[in-house]
């Protein structure tokens, strides 16, 4: 092999850099899903949809809500879970119960490194902590 030593050193450096995230994290605590603070039972006992649905699909639901309310003028949502009607509004529906953005929204979003731009325009409720 011509220039064997250079190639082997180069390969070692390459493999080392490729696997950096793995060996850098050896011994560190495993990723834990952040625990959300849900509103107390005195404020609300159920969400517009079930827990699993909201966990998986709240972003799709919020997107649909936005389009239906702003573009189609349909401002009421009939829950598929409990068949009650809810006003479509981030500030006036969601955040009336989940009134702690830091403990509810940000915890997961920060941990998952996503930064939705909802709050550039929508006003988060004043901090008090449910």
């Amino acid at each position: 092999m011509y220039d064997g030593s250079k190639i082997i050193v180069g390969l070692l450096v390459f493999v080392g850099m490729m696997t950096f995230p793995f060996w850098n994290n050896i011994g560190k605590a495993a990723y834990k899903t952040p625990e959300l603070k849900l509103p107390p039972k005195s404020v609300a006992t159920e969400c517009v949809e079930g827990k699993e649905f909201m966990r998986e699909k709240h972003m799709q639901l919020l997107n649909d809500w936005r389009d239906e309310a702003v573009r189609n003028g349909e401002r009421l949502y009939v829950s598929q879970a409990n068949h009650k009607q809810y006003q479509i509004s981030l500030q006036n529906s969601c955040m009336k119960c989940h009134d702690n953005k830091e403990e509810f929204c940000d915890k997961c979003h920060n941990s998952a490194s996503v930064s939705p731009y909802c709050w550039d325009c929508h006003i988060a409720p004043p901090k008090k902590g449910n």
């Binding site: 239906e68 702003v70 573009r71 003028g73 349909e74 949502y77 500030q91 550039d120 006003i123």
Partner: protein, 255 residues
């Protein structure tokens, strides 16, 4: 072809039956969980009539502007980059086609109330590349701030200067304590304007400026011959801004 007349007619009949059943199938297929509130005020062409005889001094305009700007979180920026949803200006800039050099003194420098005209043929809607601004079925020219990319074509397209661009984060000029927590603010880089209080109409309320105007503003459905706007337009002389350009404004001025 060995299609008999009898067969042909049978197939044609079945096809027509299928067409007749289509609306029912459509209704069943489009069963979505979204509904329009029963409180929603409905119209096919919302319009506003401004009684200019009742709006003269600054004190007449101020409460209307305050009512609108406070509930919609419109900032007051003390530069040319100010945001306006509803404001007033002098005659020569409101009705620029009216070049009468011998105007009666009372009208020469009179101020007129200004807001988005919610045109029947809105040029802003035609030029918007993302459909962020669009005309609703009830005639309101709406902004969807989620889609606005801040290209400002609509500002160039609007012949009435009814649109404002957010050159900076509007929250820098809003008092967080006085913000209306039930309505969003805007963000840097979007265009905004009057929305005919669509959020209040959805709640069964008239626009904020109309409510604050003590009768100087009249709001209603132009397509409804029994509406208050039609009644007042039948009785009194009215003009619209820049009628020659064909935008068909839905804001009328009683002179």
């Amino acid at each position: 072809m060995d299609t008999s007349r009898r067969k042909f007619l049978t197939y044609a009949g079945v096809s027509v039956l299928g067409l007749a059943a289509m609306p029912a199938v459509d209704a069943w297929a489009s069963d979505t969980p979204y509904v329009v509130s029963s409180k929603q005020l409905k119209a096919t062409r919302w319009a506003m009539v401004v009684d200019t005889t009742k709006l003269n001094s600054e004190a007449d305009f101020a409460p209307l502007i305050e009512a609108c700007h406070s509930i919609h979180n419109v900032p007051d920026i003390p530069t040319k980059q100010n945001i306006k949803w509803i404001w007033y200006d002098e005659r020569e800039r409101v009705f620029p086609d009216d070049e009468n050099p011998y105007m009666a003194e009372a009208f020469e420098h009179k101020n007129y109330l200004l807001l988005c005209n919610h045109c029947f043929e809105p040029p802003c809607v035609r030029v918007c590349p993302t459909k962020a601004t669009f005309k609703r079925e009830d005639g309101i020219v709406m902004m969807d701030f989620h889609r606005c990319i801040g290209c400002r074509y609509c500002m160039a397209g609007c012949p009435y200067g009814a649109r404002s661009f957010n050159f900076m984060d509007p929250r820098l000029h809003l008092d967080a304590a006085k913000e209306n927590k039930e309505f969003p603010t805007r963000t840097k880089g979007v265009v905004e304007k009057c929305n005919f209080c669509y959020e209040r109409l959805a709640d069964g309320k008239l626009p904020a400026c109309v409510e604050a105007s003590k009768g100087a503003l009249i709001f209603g459905d132009l397509d409804d011959p029994k509406s208050e706007v039609r009644k007042v337009l039948k009785e009194r002389y009215s003009i619209r801004r820049k009628p020659s350009i064909g935008t068909q404004p839905n804001v009328y001025y009683l002179i």
